[in-house]
């Protein structure tokens, strides 16, 4: 008989908890994902660190879907960049540290525009004329850097480095790498990176980074 009571209590608890999630009004902020980084102050191997950086749950990589396009902004720590540079080589700990040190002084981000549906080249998507394709390449190479900026308080900072990764194949995405000078903004304080999309006329796309979010990263134990 005792078992029946336990089963009854368990089923009742499950039903009540399921019902709670269906209520109108228990949403928005209460359901918002925590922006806290996971595993802060923990240590991990380089491979795990690379996974950690790419894991969307850790909020270093942020996505925004606006109808047909996904706009992804990914923070790239210097160790991650060193890993990308050396991954096909046999390297020592010193070599890794030296490579990583080349990326000091700037905060690097990867901005990728990705076509959500359909195949084909992103820059050929919804072209209104043949010339528009060339204009888009020119825009991404030279003018787009004026449309990406970092906002902290009342200050606005343009990227100190901007590079359009031109790929000569059909790909439903396009990527730019950009970096902001660490001396010109406070990494410990909240900031927002804004991209004013003129390629597909989506307007301001914003990504917010919390206090210390770029600093509170796990330590790398082995390289």
């Amino acid at each position: 008989m005792n078992k029946s009571y336990y089963i009854l209590f368990f089923v009742f608890a499950v039903i009540v908890s399921c019902n709670e999630t269906d209520k109108v009004g228990d949403t928005s902020l209460s359901n918002s994902k925590s922006t806290e980084l996971h595993n802060i102050n923990s240590s991990m191997s380089l491979d795990r660190f690379v996974e950690f950086v790419a894991n969307k749950e850790n909020q270093l990589t942020k996505n925004k879907e606006i109808s047909d396009i996904n706009f992804q902004l990914a923070f790239m720590p210097k160790e991650y960049l060193a890993y990308l540079e050396l991954k096909n080589e046999n390297y020592s700990k010193e070599q890794f540290a030296k490579t990583a040190s080349h990326y000091e002084g700037m905060s690097y981000f990867n901005l990728r525009l990705h076509l959500l549906k359909g195949q084909g080249e992103l820059l050929k998507y919804n072209l209104s004329s043949g010339q528009q394709y060339e204009a888009r390449i020119k825009y991404m190479s030279f003018e787009m850097q004026k449309d990406v900026f970092l906002v902290q308080g009342n200050d606005t900072l343009l990227p100190g480095m901007f590079h359009f990764e031109r790929i000569f194949e059909v790909a439903p995405y396009a990527t730019v790498m950009l970096a902001f000078d660490n001396a010109k903004f406070n990494q410990e304080e909240e900031f927002t990176i804004v991209y004013n999309d003129k390629l597909f006329n989506k307007g301001f796309i914003k990504y917010n980074y919390k206090n210390n979010q770029l600093i509170d990263l796990p330590n790398i134990t082995g390289v």
């Binding site: 009742f12 879907e65 307007g203 917010n208």
Partner: protein
């Protein structure tokens, strides 16, 4: 006695499960939003409205300057009515004024449409995200034009939606 209570509890439990299953399968989660209210409270709309006003004011300043030049020339012509050079310059500047005015009006129109499209596209996307995230079957939009004739105020999620879309726009969500 205990057996009877146990049986009774099992029956109650079965009824409860049946009701829950029915509720889950056949009850649709619905709500509505007051579109003008949400639109006007959307941060992106406020920002772009401000940006538009600044652009419009800048263009107006250019037109005011051209208009001032025309008035100065008109005064000079009044003083020297036979000066053909002044009259020719006045005609030229007047043409330029009207062309610029027309161009600015068209540009303002295009800019306004462009901003409206951007705002509506992002707003719709964020409402869609909200619906998916909170497992809604239907979110209706009330725009005061009779599309939604009546709904219980408890189904009005405009404030929640406004909060959500503003956080989403700011990159906080």
């Amino acid at each position: 006695m205990t057996k009877t209570i146990g049986l009774l509890l099992v029956i109650v439990l079965l009824i409860f499960i049946s009701l829950f299953t029915y509720h889950s399968l056949f009850t649709k989660k619905m709500a509505y939003v007051d579109i003008p209210k949400v639109f006007n409270s959307f941060e992106m709309k406020k920002e772009l409205q401000e940006k538009y006003k600044q652009t419009e004011a800048g263009r107006k300043r250019v037109l005011d300057s051209l208009s001032f030049n025309l008035q100065t020339l008109a005064k000079k012509i009044n003083e020297n009515k036979n000066d053909k050079n002044l009259i020719a310059e006045f005609d030229s500047q007047r043409d330029m004024f009207f062309k610029t005015k027309k161009r600015f009006e068209e540009d303002n129109e295009v800019l306004s449409r462009q901003y409206d499209k951007q705002i509506l596209e992002q707003m719709s996307q964020y409402i869609l995200d909200y619906g998916k995230q909170n497992r809604y079957d239907l979110i209706l939009g009330a725009d005061g034009n009779g599309t939604l004739m009546y709904a219980n105020e408890e189904m009005n999620i405009s404030d929640l939606i406004t909060n959500y879309i503003n956080n989403k726009y700011k990159g906080l969500e």
